[in-house]
Symmetry: C2
Subunit: 186 residues, 2 copies
DNA sequence: CGTGGTGATGTCACTTGATGACATCACCCT
DNA sequence: AGGGTGATGTCATCAAGTGACATCACCACG
């Protein structure tokens, strides 16, 4: 393949996160990111549609993992149980690299534009889960509610896991949060 | 007061919405908005921090109305009931001008950046409601859940009201949606 | 009456994000 | 050997924002 250094996209991702952490999102220019990755700004925009997206490029993978898991859950499983399976998949996909997750989370919570982007990614994820539940035969209204509840759990659990001082398993925190929600809505 | 035409902010708001409807959000430049309002682009940015915010300037008012209503609800009211009072206030604040709401909704749903902004406004609103519930003595976890549920109802009901063909009262749709959520989570 | 302050606006210059058009050039395949 | 390909560079340009400074009707105060 290329005559250039491999993994340009990955290099851009790393350079961007480093710089966002070092000096903040707004204070970092695309030209700087590209330079640190040994590329030009124009090339940055060939890999990422905008400066924010560089932090969210993995979200389609996460969506796929979760929907696959949800659709593949035992046929007899209730909607909420199927959502729980999807959350396990999310934990598996996200729980491996806590340090990366922590830095990324720090950057996002420090910037309004990034929070906006995160919110819309979560909304997309919720819609995808609701769609998956629909394929399992769940009525649309119920599907949306169950999906929203699942996303709420994902958000709360991920935040607890990533900001908490202790080294716990994300999957464990997720399951705890599901149980907590269950008891609250009962 | 001024030697200039009054209500510059309102003129900018109207001009922006008109243009966003006519040719879309992205295809409209700030210079065009300002020109239609008889002003310059620089002045636009003195009234609104960015091109999106011109559609969301009323959101702090809405937040205030809802939180005031929530805090002023009968002391004995349950968290969900207090949220219902806040939703009534929202209906009163939003339900008057359906035509405006409809045009605005059309523009927002047609553009990703605007959806992002809308989502973060809703998140802020949810946090404000949770804070209000906290002032009523509701535990934080419960407050957040009730607030999120309220926002979910607001979104669903507003969408139904604004896109539906029939001329119904927003407050009525809200109350129906609350009941529906109640029966679903029971 | 005039004089200076005030506040909303205009003007200008500049940085940065984002995009289109075109050039480049190592690698691969035939 | 030579042509195609794809990732990258280069250049030009537009639009979003922002800072610095000018303008000028109105107002308060002496």
């Amino acid at each position: 393949m290329g005559r250039w250094e491999p993994n340009a996209k990955g290099r851009l991702r790393e350079a961007a996160l480093d710089l966002y952490v070092e000096r903040g999102f707004e204070q970092t220019t695309v030209a700087e990111i590209a330079a640190r990755a040994g590329l030009t700004a124009r090339t940055f925009f060939r890999h990422f549609p905008d400066k924010r997206e560089v932090l969210f490029a993995g979200s389609t993978d996460l969506e796929r993992h979760m929907v696959d898991a949800l659709v593949g859950a035992p046929e007899a499983a209730s909607p909420m149980t199927a959502v729980g399976v999807a959350l396990d998949a999310a934990a598996a996909a996200l729980g491996g690299n806590r340090d990366f997750a922590r830095r990324r989370h720090l950057v996002i919570t420090a910037n309004g534009e990034l929070q906006e982007r995160e919110l819309i990614k979560m909304t997309r994820l919720s819609a995808a889960l609701a769609g998956g539940l629909g394929r399992r035969g769940v009525a649309e209204a119920d599907a949306r509610l169950a999906a929203e509840a699942g996303i709420a759990v994902l958000r709360v659990a991920f935040e607890r896991w990533v900001t908490g001082p202790e080294e716990r398993d994300l999957a464990e925190v997720m399951r705890e949060s599901v149980d907590r929600l269950r008891s609250l809505t009962r």
